[in-house]
């Protein structure tokens, strides 16, 4: 009898510990912004890539956690000595989630679609150097360029260059079908996107069985969800004020890294009073970047141009417009701006904008400008500010790497319009000598600091907070992505 009881006690014990013994294989990650849709080839919002990049969609190359180019759907490639012909050897067994086979026809389709007249690709410039894509056989793609392009392999690893199939390209916004290790399961608007493991993935199967991205914009709700364990972490945690407490808790890992996010006070260069360079410079003198960083999280570095200080070719231009209230006031007076003039700043949901806006408003008040703060939702921001340029000023972080080209575009939301910059940029992309390229990168930065279309604030830090048992999360964000293909649970 005693033996019997012992056996059942053992059985109960086994039943209780059973679930804990099985390693966890699901992940729930928080994100501040909800993507407007899920097609990375049809929109600029970083939130799209933060869900789909490397998880659902793949390109010929892929960018790893260090920002280096790795093989993706192309297992290898060769470049001709003149730098004009790229021959990609494609994965033979790759297929889309709907069964469509991946071959050179897909590459040709994807690249040609991206530059087509009706393309809504946010980075058409990536594909502009391409003359043609040829398919000598289904497993080989030969891409010919107009001119040597140093960043070509990197660009082809960005979400904008993801491979899409002709039969599903039109519906990827709501129902993304890619070749990646995770399959889109469902999207509960306003709440979450669910992915599950792709059973027939061509490569190494990911450790996670299911991944959920939860959208929580409110810092206090985000902090509460992390503390309660409702979610496993945030790659970009919006409540830095709670870090001290999180650091003291061994259940959480707090990992501070860098991003490519150039946080700027973007100004509508076609709207008064920002048409006047003296006004823009006055704003730069009025805003104390160090204090702004201190107020937001204490992490991140001031920037003086549209460039991350640690990237190759960076020029230190932070000191060009030092905090100087008297000078700011003098410049405003010179420009004929009366004290008490009101400017409207539209603020998207992230903390650097909503909280940063309050700090900047207070700083501008010291030089006699009244900032009217208008909080806008992310979808509104994308529509009003980014698409229709309907704004005076806004605060936003440009997280794409190597994006000096946005100032050379014919039409971009802040309406900087400088032929001098455009020709400088043209000579930069056409330069083949690395030393000359670096020199031109410096000149481009200087030109932007000089013309000051926007007020450059600071390099956005990556404040990662997640369960201490999670392995393989990215420390830095060389590109906007939550690549969870290498994430697993320790135990």
């Amino acid at each position: 009898m005693a033996k019997h009881i012992g056996a059942s006690a053992f059985a109960i014990l086994l039943a209780l510990t059973g679930p804990a013994l099985a390693a966890k294989d699901t992940l729930s990650l928080g994100m501040v912004l909800e993507p407007p849709h899920l097609d990375p080839t049809a929109g600029a919002a970083a939130a799209i890539r933060e869900v789909v990049y490397a998880n659902i969609f793949e390109g010929l190359t892929r960018i790893d956690a260090k920002g280096e180019v790795q093989p993706g759907l192309a297992e290898s490639w060769t470049v001709s000595p003149d730098g004009l012909t790229y021959t990609f050897k494609l994965r033979a067994n790759a297929a889309f989630h709907d069964g469509t086979k991946f071959d050179c026809g897909i590459v040709k389709f994807s690249y040609e679609r991206a530059v087509a007249a009706d393309s809504v690709n946010a980075q058409k410039g990536f594909f502009e150097p391409i003359v043609s894509t040829a398919c000598p056989d289904p497993a080989t793609a030969v891409v010919t360029l107009k001119r040597p392009t140093g960043l070509f392999l990197f660009n082809m690893g960005m979400g904008d260059a993801a491979m899409v199939a002709p039969n599903t390209a039109a519906t990827n916004k709501a129902n993304p079908v890619g070749t990646g290790p995770f399959v889109f399961k469902r999207w509960v608007k306003g709440d979450r996107v669910e992915l599950e493991r792709n059973a027939s993935y061509w490569g190494k199967a990911p450790a996670l069985r299911a991944v959920t991205f939860r959208f929580i914009a409110d810092p206090s709700a985000a902090a509460a969800a992390v503390f309660a364990g409702d979610i496993d972490g945030f790659a970009n945690f919006p409540a830095p004020e709670t870090l001290d407490r999180l650091r003291g808790d061994k259940n959480f890992a707090v990992v501070i890294g860098t991003t490519e996010g150039k946080t700027i006070l973007a100004l509508n260069n076609t709207r008064k009073p920002f048409t006047d360079i003296r006004v823009r410079r006055a704003l730069a003198h009025a805003i104390d970047r160090k204090m702004l960083i201190e107020a937001l999280s204490g992490y991140g570095a001031p920037i003086g141009s549209h460039f991350i200080p640690t990237d190759p070719g960076a020029v230190d231009l932070v000191g060009v417009y030092p905090p100087d209230l008297a000078k700011a006031k003098a410049l405003l007076a010179e420009a004929g701006i009366a004290p008490g003039t009101e400017i409207t700043i539209k603020l998207p949901p992230p903390g650097y904008a909503r909280r940063g806006g309050e700090v900047i408003a207070a700083m501008l008040e010291q030089v006699g400008l009244r900032a009217k703060l208008v909080p806008v939702e992310w979808a509104q921001w994308l529509d009003q500010v980014f698409k229709n340029s309907d704004f005076d000023a806004t605060i936003i972080s440009h997280v794409e790497p190597h994006d000096l080209d946005i100032y050379a575009r014919d039409k971009y939301y802040f309406n900087y319009n400088s032929d001098a910059y455009r020709s400088l940029y043209k000579s930069y992309v056409e330069a083949t000598d690395p030393a000359k390229q670096l020199d031109l990168v410096g000149q481009l930065q200087r030109k932007l600091t000089d013309d000051l279309p926007n007020v450059f604030l600071y390099a956005l830090p990556k404040i990662g907070v997640w369960n201490a048992k999670l392995k393989g999360m990215w420390t830095n964000s060389p590109i906007a992505a939550n690549d969870v293909t290498g994430v697993s649970w320790a135990e």
Binding site: S220, E241, A295, R355, E358, A362, E365, L373, P375
Partner: protein, 269 residues
Amino acid sequence: MNRNLVIGGTVSLLVLAVALVSLVWTPYPPTRIDILHKLAAPSAQHVLGTDPFGRDVASMIMEGTRNTLGVAIVAVLLGAGLGVPLGALAAARGGWFDALVMRTADLAFAFPALLTAVMITAIAGPGAVNAMIAIGIFNIPVFARVTRGAALSVQARDFVTAARATGRSEAAIVWLHVLPNIAPVLIVQVTIQFALGIIADAGLSYVGLGTQPPAPSWGRMLNDAQTFIYRAPLLAVFPGLAIMLSVLGLNLLGDGLRDLLDPRLESRR
């Protein structure tokens, strides 16, 4: 002397005084940031400490008082200004007009007030003015119903019949006889709606639909303080206390006024 009246009256006057003083003086400009002195504990320089941007909490509470009272006052004026005439007219006219006003009021009551206020501000855009309108709209049926109920009982009394017999117009009767007699009920209702208005404004500001930054408001101060609860718990305490004290004061004042003004209750004491 009525204890509720004294305490409630004192607290309410104090809140009003703070709001009035903030018009001409606050210890610091409430939007002035001083990052180097952020999250300071209460001290001689900053009586209630500073917030995450180094703004003076006492100054923010003072200006927040003014902003909140502004919203509540306009909302009550809007509600009473439209609700009282409607209710009085419904009582005087009776018939289809009475039925129409009261059924519309019933309909309005069927919606949760705060939720609808959220809806209105979400559609019309966040801001203090829209918050005033949203809260005010929900005061209209309250005042209409209270006025009608009280007016009906007055309408039935002898002196009204006498006035009617002497040929007074309905409007004159309402103005000269009904309103003065129901004034105590209305005054009590004003204090109740005022307190509810303060709570509604704090609620709307808390979810970001009320007074917009950089102008301080109690609700948003509470929201902002939430994630700082581990580092600076007092940040949440002060705006919370401000809301509690002002609402408590108004409710006590309302109770006291009812005891004082409503003769029907006096006999029970």
